[in-house]
Symmetry: C2
Subunit: 145 residues, 2 copies
């Protein structure tokens, strides 16, 4: 938890708990699915993907012909993970904004291919996209007391 000088949770003006970068990165590392936000033919687009972390970078596999691969070439993208509980109406989300780039370097590709990252979607996905977590923000809806 992100705490202030008085040892209590930091909240934003909407009353949501503000998560520290370290906690956000931890939640990212544990999430099975994230949603990548990009621009497709000048319109906003969003697509769920499974992913892996390499250090603080987000790694996605796709096919070279995919919309995603074609749209993301040294582009600023957003990436989001969340989890929520319908019963208690609580949840958290982490959003990343950073440069996404297609990986072309053979040495880097070899490294990424060694990651435990098997796409859920069918078909070969030899193409890697790497997103830097330049801006990371997280919020949590606290349990009602």
């Amino acid at each position: 938890m992100n705490v202030n000088g008085r040892g209590t949770a930091v909240t934003d003006r909407a009353g949501l708990e503000v998560l520290a970068r370290e906690e956000c990165l931890q939640l990212l590392a544990e999430a099975p699915i994230g949603r990548i936000v990009f621009t497709d033919h000048a319109l906003p687009a969003v697509q769920p993907v499974n992913f892996a972390m390499l250090g603080t970078d987000i790694i996605i596999r796709t096919s070279p012909e995919s919309k995603l691969a074609q749209a993301i070439r040294d582009t600023v993208v957003a990436f989001e993970v969340d989890d929520y509980d319908v019963e208690t109406r609580t949840g958290w989300s982490v959003a990343v904004v950073g440069i996404g780039r297609a990986v072309d370097d053979p040495e880097e590709l070899a490294l990424l291919e060694s990651l435990p990252l098997q796409p859920w979607a069918p078909g070969p996905k030899p193409h890697f996209i790497r997103i830097m977590t330049d801006i990371v923000s997280g919020r949590r809806i606290p349990k009602k007391s």
Copy 2:
């Protein structure tokens, strides 16, 4: 399921099942949480929200001071819902692209206030955003046979 002339599921070139608009709207109506995608200070932004449907429109409540309310004024936005199962590595997603607008008309506001839509986040949320489902697309990762 969206079926072709041979009675089998329509798939895209990645091998994902293509969901028909009607099924997408049904999945939207059943989802407790969606993610709205917009532009915040020229950067892509994504935020989970609970929502209601009014006919085929998506209705969101927020506070007038929120980033969301300030960013969405007759703007094209995206909206996404999904569900997935980690065990079977299956899931579906529905993405909407449409005009989002702040609701100012008193009669329309009265109608929206009558919806069963109580924000999960704390604090008053008297501000309504209405998103038209102009473009709707859905995909499902089928169970491995």
